[in-house]
Symmetry: C2
Subunit: 329 residues, 2 copies
């Protein structure tokens, strides 16, 4: 296995692997991490790195190789799974897109938390994986810890999934929840989200619905089998929502929520009125994803949409799924 | 495969198998059903029954064998999976308990929707399955269509699950929702539930929390690895809840919900105040199950807790899981 990207998510994955070594051993999985790549170089040891040491010593670990890049090393590396966790870039998908292409080309399975490559090149990457007989999993790209792709692919396999509805961005959900509970303006709620670290200095991606639309594209392609691009999504942000609108909705038993929706006819992210008693009416930074199916009816999943440790649950779920497929259990 | 029990759930499973034959074929699974057992006899054909014909013709189908019983035929039958769907009986677990024991003894995998045998004999049945190297799955026993055991066992495998909270009975949730929305008494809400077919003439199991407690026992044993019995659960029903209590709770932003809770210290089913914004605050006949984990934090699943077709999604999920394990994918 190789970890590509050693920011908050990469470090959380390394920490959980260290923390859960006994559990992993018990289920017959002893991960050997031969490389950890970050921007300026990498830690490399073909016999298996000591992740705890890397987490503690960083670049002063003896395994550190200044300047060694993932792009250059992935093709020749002797490892079975590449875990791509570099930062999302929805302009050109790089450097993640190249990492995933190189990994698949050189016959490695891929697990990724990086939305960029999937938003831009879902059909290409899936075709590439299929041709190579490799697995490409991406549970962590949507809904953080929520195992929605797993549920759709496995537990609900007998179902035809016909539509997906969800709150896919914790920041905008936090802002709308604050506006509802404290009757404050969008700007006041945004400032609070920024102070608490839930929103970036430039909150455009979150509040204009671009992040949610990216996730919706991955859900549409990964679960409904569509071939949607970001430009197919009709997007409306939450910046023009006023406390008055929120209050009026409340009087009628509704909440204003930023909802992503996709079926065979529509793909959209926009503010919508949701009945307070709906499973979609979750507050705070929570994410929710609801699958409309033809046998199980509506199945809804709720969880933390972000957070490095929570996200690592999804990444390790994917890694363990690949292990299970290989071991046949 | 053999279907044991041909009531609403058994028929729904047969219907979905017929309806989804193309999908099943596409994923490489062509179920051969060699026997369908009901109370007075069975349909038997070792070359595979025509389920559509049985659904249409019932006992006038040529495959019908009057008086042939599951108990007598399971041990000698040449089939790989026994699907036990007889009616739940939490007094002595019969006839389901005998069916499951006989199936495991004669080296068959088992899928069941029957709570009785698991509530009464979970450790015994699991030990028996393990010794025999067989699989015993029971997704449909709790939460209808909600794939909670699947999620806990597979997608969240890296997590330690430390507590489970949920609304496990749709009837009592419907009654409490009516009391909240229409400010009516328990008795008026119960009558409406009975008129709509959501509650039995004798609603004791539902409104006194015995059904929810049974499901909690299965969750405790199946997910937390405990060895709880029904008598370990502290149970309080909803019959003494008044519209005044519901109203007072509402004024403070809470809903009265009938909540099952289990961790290593407590197992209980009782009315509790849940914040309106909580993922647990679902209305109508919906069920909800929330898993507290050490990596993913809280993961919540919501869905239909009953309904033959919805339940068949869980049963077929289990059957397909066994197929996947065998085929190693």
């Amino acid at each position: 296995m190789a970890l590509v990207g050693f920011g908050n998510v990469g470090k959380a994955v390394a920490r959980v692997i260290v923390e859960k070594r006994d559990l992993l051993q018990k289920i017959g999985f002893e991960p050997v991490v031969v490389a950890v790549f970050e921007k300026n170089g990498s830690w490399i040891d073909e016999n298996g790195l000591n992740l705890q040491e890397i987490l503690q010593k960083g670049e002063s670990s003896p395994a550190w190789v200044e300047g060694a890049s993932a792009k250059e090393h992935i093709p020749e590396m002797d490892c079975d799974i590449v875990v791509e966790m570099t930062v999302t870039n929805i302009k050109d998908g790089e450097p993640g897109l190249t990492h995933i292409r190189e990994a698949l080309k050189s016959d490695k399975d891929v697990v990724t938390s990086n939305k960029g490559p999937l938003v831009l090149a879902f059909p290409e990457l899936m075709d590439m994986a299929e041709k190579k007989g490799r697995i490409l999993l991406y549970e962590a790209t949507v809904g953080g810890a929520i195992p929605v792709f797993h549920v759709a692919r496995e537990a609900l396999l007998i179902n035809r999934i016909t539509a997906i509805t969800g709150i896919l961005n914790g920041t905008s959900n936090y802002i709308l929840t604050k506006m509802t509970e404290e009757k404050v303006s969008f700007n006041a709620a945004l400032r609070e989200a920024q102070e608490k670290g839930y929103a970036e200095a430039d909150p455009t991606y979150d509040v204009e619905g671009i992040d949610a639309a990216s996730k919706l594209v991955i859900l549409a392609n990964g679960i409904l089998g569509l071939r949607k691009k970001l430009s197919d999504v009709q997007i409306e942000g939450i910046t023009r929502i006023t406390p008055e609108m929120v209050e009026l909705a409340m009087e009628d038993g509704y909440l204003v929520k930023h909802i992503g929706y996709v079926d065979r006819d529509r793909v959209e992210v926009m503010p919508r009125l949701i009945p307070r008693s709906s499973p979609l009416a979750v507050g705070g930074t929570l994410n929710v994803i609801s699958l409309r199916t033809d046998v199980a009816e509506e199945i809804t999943l709720i969880g933390r949409g972000a957070g490095p440790r929570e996200t690592s649950s999804a990444i390790l779920g994917d890694i363990l799924h690949i292990h299970r497929v290989r071991e046949g259990y």
